[in-house]
């Protein structure tokens, strides 16, 4: 087994939790109505981050990205996050 670290790329999706008001989404939905798109029931906004880093293996990589997402990229009081590697 090689101890060399490999390069990983992760994508972190951050979105407001269910039930948390999303003023940006609400405003975008209203604008869509003004544009004639009346069938839009709901818009929820969010953001995503691309994280590139070195790690020993996939498990370690996942652990690291989950940690930084929980500590900094998302605020667990109002947001959920999803990590893809």
């Amino acid at each position: 087994m090689s101890k060399e670290k490999k390069s990983y790329q992760a994508t972190v999706y951050v979105r407001l939790k269910e039930g948390v008001l999303d003023p940006q989404g609400t405003t975008i939905k209203r604008a869509l109505g003004d544009m004639g798109y009346n069938g839009v029931e709901e818009i929820r906004s969010g953001k995503f981050f691309e994280v590139s880093f070195l790690s020993a293996n996939r498990k370690e990589a996942l652990k690291l990205v989950n940690e930084i997402s929980d500590k900094l990229l998302a605020n667990p009081v109002i947001e959920d996050f999803k990590v893809e590697i």
């Binding site: 003023p23 990229l73 605020n75």
Partner: protein, 233 residues
């Protein structure tokens, strides 16, 4: 007594806070740099308003990891007084020193105007010089002041009398009409369980002189002085 005003990259109400304490309250005050690892013997730390770290990611999210914050955690843990105003309040929420979080204003706009707030708790180090239900005229200036907390969290805030200020009419009526940002139940300021940490969106440091339209900000700072000098509990 001695106040310490924290300067973070992007703080812009630091000198206002310094000014009111030095020239109006006539108390000792110094600045604390974000890289500092010492509070220089302050009795009260002020996290001022502004746009620390450009409000990147979320308001207060990056500031929460500034080196000075570790000292502020220790200080607050030992009962030291910490007041966060506007961006300072946002930082205290991100840091977990106060419960809840800030969302974008319901209008999505930067709101800069006079508001009235009702003092719901006069038994805190920050409001002991106010009457219960006194109405203060103080301005707000922010984009993210839409206070949010879970249902259980709100219940706890109420049970423990941690809601210190509500947005209200000049007569003290609490109604959504007087809510500048969509904050849950018109909440304008809260304290922690131990009552030594306060966060508020309005800017008391901007209103210490009649010529500025109100002197009501002095009530907050004189309360802190009273408390530290042992004139109030």
């Amino acid at each position: 007594m001695k106040f310490g005003v924290v300067i973070l990259p992007g703080s812009n109400c630091d000198y206002d806070a310094y000014q009111i304490i030095k020239t109006i309250m006539k108390e000792e005050v110094g600045f604390l740099w974000h890289q500092d690892k010492d509070l220089n013997g302050c009795d009260c730390v002020i996290l001022p308003g502004g746009f620390s770290y450009g409000d990147y990611l979320r308001t207060g999210a990056i500031a929460r990891f500034a080196p000075i914050m570790q000292e502020i955690f220790n200080f607050a843990e030992k009962g030291g007084l910490v007041i966060g105003i506007c961006n300072g309040f946002q930082i205290l929420l991100e840091a977990g020193l106060l419960p809840g979080a800030m969302l974008r204003n319901s209008s999505l706009r930067f709101v800069c105007k006079w508001v009235h707030i009702k003092v719901e708790q006069e038994n805190t180090p920050f409001t002991n010089n106010c009457q219960r239900f006194q109405v203060l005229k103080i301005p707000v200036a922010h984009t993210d002041g839409n206070y949010f907390i879970s249902e259980e969290g709100l219940k706890k805030l109420k049970e423990n009398n941690q809601i210190v200020f509500h947005y209200c009419s000049p007569q003290g009526e609490i109604d959504p009409v007087y809510n500048p940002n969509g904050a849950l139940e018109n909440i304008a300021g809260i304290c922690n369980l131990k009552r030594n940490v306060l966060g508020m969106m309005p800017h008391p440091e901007r209103v210490g002189e009649k010529i500025l339209g109100s002197e009501d900000g002095k009530h907050i700072f004189s309360s802190i002085v009273n408390f530290v000098k042992g004139k109030a509990n």
